[in-house]
Amino acid sequence: MLMLSLGTLGAVLWRAEGPGALNGADWSAVRFTLGQAVLSSVLSVALAVPVARALARRRFRGRGLLITLLGAPFILPVIVAVLGLLAVFGRSGLISSMLAPLGLGPIDIYGLEGVVLAHVFFNLPLATRLVLQGWLAIPSEQFRLAAALNFTPRDVARTLEWPMLRSVLPGALLVIFLICMTSFAVALTLGGGPGATTVELAIYQAFRFEFDLGRAALLSLVQFGLSGVAALLAFAIAVPGVFGAGLDRPLTRWDRDSAVRRIMDGLWIVLAALFLIVPLGMVVLHGAAGLPHLPGTVYWAALRSLAVALGSAGLTLALALPMALAAVRLGGGRGAALQAAGTLSIAASPLVMGTGLFIMLFPLADPMRLALPVTALVNAAMSLPFALRALTPAVAEAEAGFGRLADSLGMTGMARLRLMLLPRLRRPLGFTLGLSAALSMGDLGVIALFADPGHATLPLQLYGLMGAYRMQDAAGAALLLLMLSLGLFWIFDRGGRAHADA
C-alpha cells in the first residue's frame, strides 16, 4: 500500500531529478484546500450524527432503501453529481425556479458555500453510514440495560452514545477530510473560479501545463504531509470502542419516547433524504429518456466496469482483512500506525499515483494492456481506508467478545477466520465489498494515462459521449452507471445484513 502511495510519488520524483519549489499561488492553494476540507468534513460529520441517530432508533418502510441510497452520491462520477446538484441548487435549478414567482433569486451557490455544499452532498451519506455502524455496534443488551435503569435519552447519550461517538467520529472526520483534500473538479466548478484552486489542481497544472514533475511531486508531498498530520491527530484523539459482545439479539430500543423526539428524528431523516434524493432524482429524470437508446458499446463498457468493480472489491478485501487482523493483533500504537498507513492511500494524488505507476510500468509492459488490472488495483487502494474503518473495529470487537472462547477451543488459522471472524464480520464485509465495488464502478480519475478508449470503462464512455456533444446519451449512461453501482452496493450490503436478525 505504501508502495502504491509513496512509491509512485518516488517514481515521479526520480523522473523529475529533484524537487521543485513552491510559489505564492501554491501556498494560497494549500490554504484554500485545508480550509474547505476542514469545513466540509466537520459539517458532514456534524450533520451525520443526528441523521444516523434517527436512523438507528426509528423503523419505517423504506429505511433499508434509504440506507442503500446513502451510498449513491459518493460513487457517482463528479460531473454527474455536480449536474444533479445544479439541477436543484443552480441558477435555473428547482429552488431558483420556485423562488422566481416570489420575485426572489436566482440563488447563487458558487464560491466556498458551493464547494462545501457539494462536499457535504458527497460525504454526508458516507459519514452517516460510518456513524450508523457505530450505533449498530452497541449491543442491544446495553440498550436493554439502559432501559432497565430507566435512563433518559440524555443518560443514554452520555453513557452509551457519547463513548461510541468518541471512538467513531475521529476516524469518520479523517476519512472525509482526506477525500476533500484531493478534491479538484468539484472544488473548481462550484468554487466559481481560480480562487478555488486546490493543491490537486496545482499538481495538475504543474504536471500537464508546465510539465514540471518536480513541482508536481513536491505539491503531492505537501498534500501527503498535511494528510499525515491529520491522520496522526485523528488517531491520537480516537479512543477504542468500549462495548463488549452481545447475543446478537435484534436491535430493539426501549427508549423510544416523546412526540418531540419522534418529530425531530423524522425531520432529520426527511431533510437528509430530500437533500440526497432530489439531486439523484434529477439524474434519473434526465437519464430516463436516453437510457433505452444507448449505443451497444456503452453496454460493453458497463460490462468491463463490472469486471473491474468485482476485481477491485476482491482485492480490497484481500488487502484490508489481513491489515485489520494485524492491526488488532498488534494493538496499541503499532496497530494504529498500520491503520493510519492504510488510510493514507486516499490522500495520494490520483494524478501522481497514476503517473508514478506509469513511469514504473512503462519500461516493463504495455500500459494499455494493464489498464483494467491497474484500475482495479488503484481503486482497491482508494477503498482501503473505508474498508479498514469498517473492518478493524469489528475485528477488535469479535476478538474481545469471543477471542478467549476461540483460544480455549484451539480455533486457529482458517478455522478461526471462517467460523469466528467472518460470520461476526458479515455486516462490515458486505459494506466493504459493496462500497469498493461501487466506488470502482464510478472511478475515472487515476488511470487517465492507462486508459484505452477502445476498451473504455463506463465512466470514460460517459465522458466520451459528452465530449461528442451527446448529452442525452451521456445522461442515459449516467443513469445506467448509477443503477449498476447502487445495484452492486445493494447486493453486497444486503448479503452482509441478511440473517442479521436470525
Binding site: L86, T189, G192, G193, P194, L449, L460, A468
Partner: protein, 330 residues
C-alpha cells in the same frame, strides 16, 4: 463437417492479421471514441495501407504531450495527432518529432501555414455559444460582455486543465495585449464559474445554468445537423476570434517511418478530411471535393482570425495565466 472449415478460416484470419505492420497513432480520447473520427479513419486508411492502424487515446491534447514526454524516445508512437499551436513549441522542444517533408499543400486555413514538423488536419474558432431562444441579443465583443447587465453569466474552462480554456486565455491576450487584465476584471462578474473541462461547462450551459459557454463556432453545427435543433448559435465578436489549429507530426524514432509518412499524406486527403466536419465538428484543413456538409454554411465566419505562432504562444502563456488568475481570484 463445418468445424474444420471454420477452424481453417480462423487460422487464415489470424495468420493474415498477424502479418501486416502496425502503425501506432497517439491522439486525444475524443478522436478515437466511438463517436469521433477514429473508427471511420481507421477503416479508410487500413483499406489502402495494408497495415494495422492502432489509435491510442491519451486524455486531451495537453495530456497527450505529457504522456509523450514521459515516454521519451522509447515511445511506441509512430505518429502523434491532436496537438495544437499552443503546444507545438513544447512538442518540438522534445526533439522527438521528424520533419514531414510535405510541401505545396493548398490548406484552407484562415492563416498561412509553414511548419517543418507539424501538419494541420483541422481547425476552428473559439466562440461563445448561446441559445437564441433565451438570449435575444448576445454581446458583440469582450467589451460589450463586460458592460452587459451582471446577470448575464458565462461558463468558461480552466486554462490549466482544458484546451478551450487555454484558447480563451490566448484570445483575450491576442486581442488586448497589455489591456488583457482590465478585460478579465470586467469579465469577472459575468463568469459564473470555471470548469475543469469542456464537457462540464457545455453540460452546464445545456442545463440552462449559464447564458453562454466557451466553445467553438462549429458547435451549433452539431445541434443543427445531428439534432435538427437550430436554437444554438455562436456570438460573433468584433475583436475577431482565436484560431485553434490541430496538427499531427511523425516521431523520428519510429520503426515504421514510411507508413507514418503515408499516414500524414492520407491525413490531407479526402478520405480523412471528409470525415472531420461531422465527427470532430471542426473545419477540415483541406476542404474535400464534396465541400462542407450542409448546415456549415449557417455558421458565423469571423472577419479576423487571431492566432499566436507556436513560439509566441509559449512566450505569452505564463504571463497571461498569471493575469487571468489574479483578475479572477479577487
Amino acid at each position: 463437417m463445418k468445424v474444420p472449415f471454420i477452424a481453417a478460416g480462423i487460422l487464415c484470419a489470424t495468420m493474415a492479421s498477424a502479418e501486416p505492420p502496425v502503425l501506432t497513432v497517439y491522439t486525444y480520447d475524443s478522436f478515437v471514441s466511438d463517436w469521433g473520427p477514429g473508427p471511420q479513419i481507421e477503416a479508410a486508411f487500413e483499406a489502402q495501407c495494408g497495415c494495422d492502424l492502432q489509435f491510442v487515446g491519451a486524455g486531451d491534447g495537453a495530456a497527450l504531450l505529457a504522456r509523450l514526454r514521459l515516454e521519451g524516445v522509447r515511445t511506441k508512437a509512430d505518429v502523434v495527432l491532436g496537438l495544437d499551436t499552443n503546444l507545438t513549441a513544447a512538442a518540438a522542444e522534445t526533439g522527438l518529432f521528424a520533419r514531414h517533408g510535405i510541401a505545396d499543400v493548398a490548406f484552407d486555413l484562415p492563416v498561412g501555414w509553414d511548419d517543418e514538423m507539424f501538419l494541420p488536419y483541422d481547425w476552428g474558432y473559439f466562440a461563445f455559444v448561446y441559445d437564441k431562444t433565451r438570449l435575444a441579443t448576445p454581446p458583440t465583443s469582450f467589451q460589450a460582455l463586460a458592460d452587459a447587465p451582471e446577470d448575464l453569466k458565462i461558463v468558461i474552462q480552466d486554462p490549466r486543465s482544458s484546451t478551450p480554456g487555454l484558447g480563451l486565455l490566448m484570445w483575450v491576450k491576442a486581442a488586448y495585449g497589455d489591456r488583457a487584465p482590465d478585460i478579465w476584471a470586467g469579465l469577472a462578474p459575468h463568469i459564473l464559474t470555471v470548469t475543469k473541462g469542456w464537457s462540464e461547462a457545455y453540460g452546464m450551459f445545456l442545463e440552462g445554468e449559464a447564458d453562454m459557454v466557451l466553445s467553438y463556432t462549429t458547435s451549433p453545427a452539431y445541434h443543427l445537423i445531428a439534432e435538427e435543433d437550430d436554437t444554438k448559435a455562436a456570438a460573433p465578436f468584433d475583436e475577431g476570434h482565436y484560431l485553434q489549429i490541430e496538427v499531427a507530426g511523425r516521431i523520428a524514432s519510429s520503426d515504421q517511418p514510411e507508413l507514418a509518412q503515408q499516414f500524414l499524406d492520407f491525413m490531407l486527403s479526402d478520405g480523412f478530411q471528409s470525415v472531420i466536419p461531422t465527427t470532430n465538428w471542426m473545419y477540415p484543413a483541406v476542404t474535400p471535393a464534396g465541400g462542407l456538409p450542409q448546415g456549415f454554411e449557417t455558421l458565423i465566419a469571423p472577419d479576423t482570425a487571431l492566432v499566436y505562432s507556436a513560439g509566441e504562444a509559449a512566450r505569452v502563456r505564463d504571463v497571461a495565466l498569471d493575469e487571468w488568475r489574479d483578475a479572477l481570484s479577487r
